[in-house]
Subunit: 406 residues, 2 copies
């Protein structure tokens, strides 16, 4: 018995049949004596259809109107799901983002939730309703409809859970939990029983696409336990929780990879104070996100300056770098699109040493050359040649003892 | 130069191409120096698709949720039309029903507009925006989304026009105006240049489906001139205005018909005070709308009591009538589904006599028997056998001098 938020993604409500299936899960939870709030995405494919309609009108649709358009997707789902719950004999009420008091900033298309009111939802729960909330959408100060960007319904769910102080937020999806690595490239990947918020944050940002990163930030901030599980079976999935709970203290919890970065090197940069800012400021002013940065001091007074950018912005970044190089008197600009980043992640490494060296050994053992290295408290990442990605992931998965026993 | 409300129905925004066409019309009006508010319906077919999705879930969808579902249709249109106007280089902002402050009662699926605020729309107009409002939808006192029922966008348009004191409300549709009768059954039907609110009210309720009746009531109440015209050409349509404007004072402006009624007669009803109420109260308690009622006094102390009901409710009404007849000691109940109502309408007849007798003569001349008669200040209606409908309409159209000259 408690207050439970259940989130169903686009695949989980992708057809009338699946909506009925979701309704049954919801009612089962309600019948156990829980108060239930449901947060849903648009039916799978709907958002793409709407985007394609807009693109028939113009290449650059107005962002405010795009939000008005896209937010209809979730609106259709909440109406259908709520009437379905009704037809099964239970009280239910749907709420749009603004009705559920989901307040956001005014950044159309990628708005951030500022606050979620609890009055309306709590009142409906107290009146014995199952409450069905449209994910992905909110309202700004001026009353404009906003959307949170792809995957935003996860964040809606966690934000609503935080607002009403829910005991748990269940994320129903088309996978059955969080895996130690991508099961598509590593057959020995294992479903994790638990993972910490911090590990999940690193995994989300590094390419495991199960949860939107912002939803994990929210869950951590407001201490909302998440349960990521399949909407197509009854099995337990993965709990995302604080790392001070009784988690097995493994050194490394997971291995991730990201093929969406590219590397740029400026050769023979004059090694002067402030030179890094001179290079990176124009890049970030152009709205290009820089990830890893390496600068080696050399005795000659010249240095090579290397950084990574998203592949989609590679050409723009190379062009810009050429101009920067000319202006600061540096040398050749070398770009490399054929790279990927592999990372090992684990809260356990905070208290252990040797993770990095173990990683380097494992890669060396497969004759994989490391081009760049970066680390955080709970992560070590290496840039390698893209073609070795899968091999590297499998080698690291084995080296850190993550493989399933067969 | 002035303030103009333009309403585009489902057919007029039924495809991306037609939305672009509507945007061009809107911009042309704006370029003439007018302030323009646009009210739109869902793209043709959308509402039916949504209804069909709901019917896959349940036979009796919850009405509140049905409104949440259906209101997405107009939301898609306002977003697409507004981004289209944008892409053509003009400022435009879309507003949902609740954003445009369209307040309604709580009657889901057939809500009535109580009030329309003007602040938001006026502010946007003052900032030089073309304002695009979702028709058909509003919000009730508790913040629930409501819809106005089929054709509701007409009413939305007129209500918004009234609120902002617009100079005119243009209704763009797939016909090019209001005709003296149905052109499908009478080749000599003429497009009217002008028609009065009162005549239009009689025509709308009698079967001319161009304008929702409630929109005409609104237009009359708030003195909003309507211009019904085609969205596919530039021709003038029909003005719907007060009858004290310089309208040609013709005796009869139009001929209408309605095949959707059926007739029920209770024979040998005891002719006592209050007997009509005893018969009709149970009928209206069952939610059946009674149109015409005839009771003839006879010398025997018995009378025949006849009334008409919508064909869809004929069987229920007959069954009910049988029970009523038993309880009041009346005789046989006779039903007739094969009837239709033909009417002649005209504000001119207020000041003329002889319209009724001219109508009866014209019908008699075609050997059409009249089964029932009813009149209002500006209308005479006759119930005839359904099979004579088209013949009767053409005969009356000719008799009252409405035929086009060929």
């Amino acid at each position: 018995m408690g207050v439970i938020v259940q989130k169903f993604g686009g695949t989980s409500v992708g057809s009338i049949e699946r909506i009925k299936n979701a309704a049954e899960k919801i009612i089962k939870t309600y019948e156990k004596g829980n108060k239930v709030v449901v947060v849903v995405s648009a039916m799978g494919g709907t958002t793409d259809e709407l985007i394609s309609m807009a693109s028939e009108i113009t290449d650059k649709p107005d962002k405010r109107e795009m939000d008005v358009l896209l937010s209809t997707g979730e609106q259709v789902t909440i109406a259908l799901l709520t009437m379905c719950i009704h037809s099964m004999g239970y009280k239910a009420t749907s709420l749009l983002g603004h009705q559920a008091e989901v307040k956001t900033d005014s950044q159309s298309g990628s708005a951030r939730i500022l606050q979620v009111g609890k009055e309306k939802v709590s009142k409906l729960l107290d009146e014995d309703n199952i409450v069905v909330v449209a994910g992905f959408q909110g309202i700004d100060d001026s009353g404009n409809i906003t959307t949170l960007g792809r995957g935003g319904s996860d964040t809606s769910a966690v934000a609503v859970a935080a607002a009403i102080n829910a005991d748990i937020c269940e994320i129903y999806t088309d996978v059955d939990g969080i895996y130690t690595t991508d099961p598509n490239i590593c057959k020995k990947a294992r479903k994790m029983g638990r993972v910490s918020y911090d590990e999940m944050l690193e995994m989300a940002s590094l390419g495991a696409k199960v949860l939107q990163i912002r939803s994990v930030e929210f869950a951590k901030k407001y201490q909302v336990p998440l349960h990521v599980r399949s909407s197509f079976n009854e099995e337990e999935g993965t709990m995302v929780v604080n790392d001070d709970t009784d988690m097995e203290k493994v050194l490394v919890s997971g291995v991730t990879y990201n093929k969406n970065e590219a590397r740029i090197t400026l050769k023979n940069v004059p090694d002067q104070p402030g030179i890094a800012a001179k290079i990176l400021t124009p890049i970030s002013d152009a709205g290009i996100l820089v990830d890893m940065i390496i600068q080696n001091t050399r005795s000659t007074g010249l240095t090579d300056f290397t950084f990574t950018v998203p592949k989609t912005e590679f050409f723009e970044a190379v062009e810009l770098s050429q101009k920067i190089s000319d202006s600061i008197g540096a040398g050749e600009v070398i770009g490399d699109e054929n790279i990927s980043k592999v990372s090992v992640i684990g809260v356990g490494m905070k208290s252990h040493s040797g993770v990095a060296s173990k990683m380097f050994e494992a890669l060396a053992h497969e004759n994989i050359n490391i081009k760049m290295i970066s680390t955080s408290e709970i992560r070590v990442s290496c840039i390698i040649a893209e073609k070795y990605t899968e091999l590297a992931v499998r080698a690291l998965h084995t080296a850190f003892g993550l493989d399933t026993e067969e």
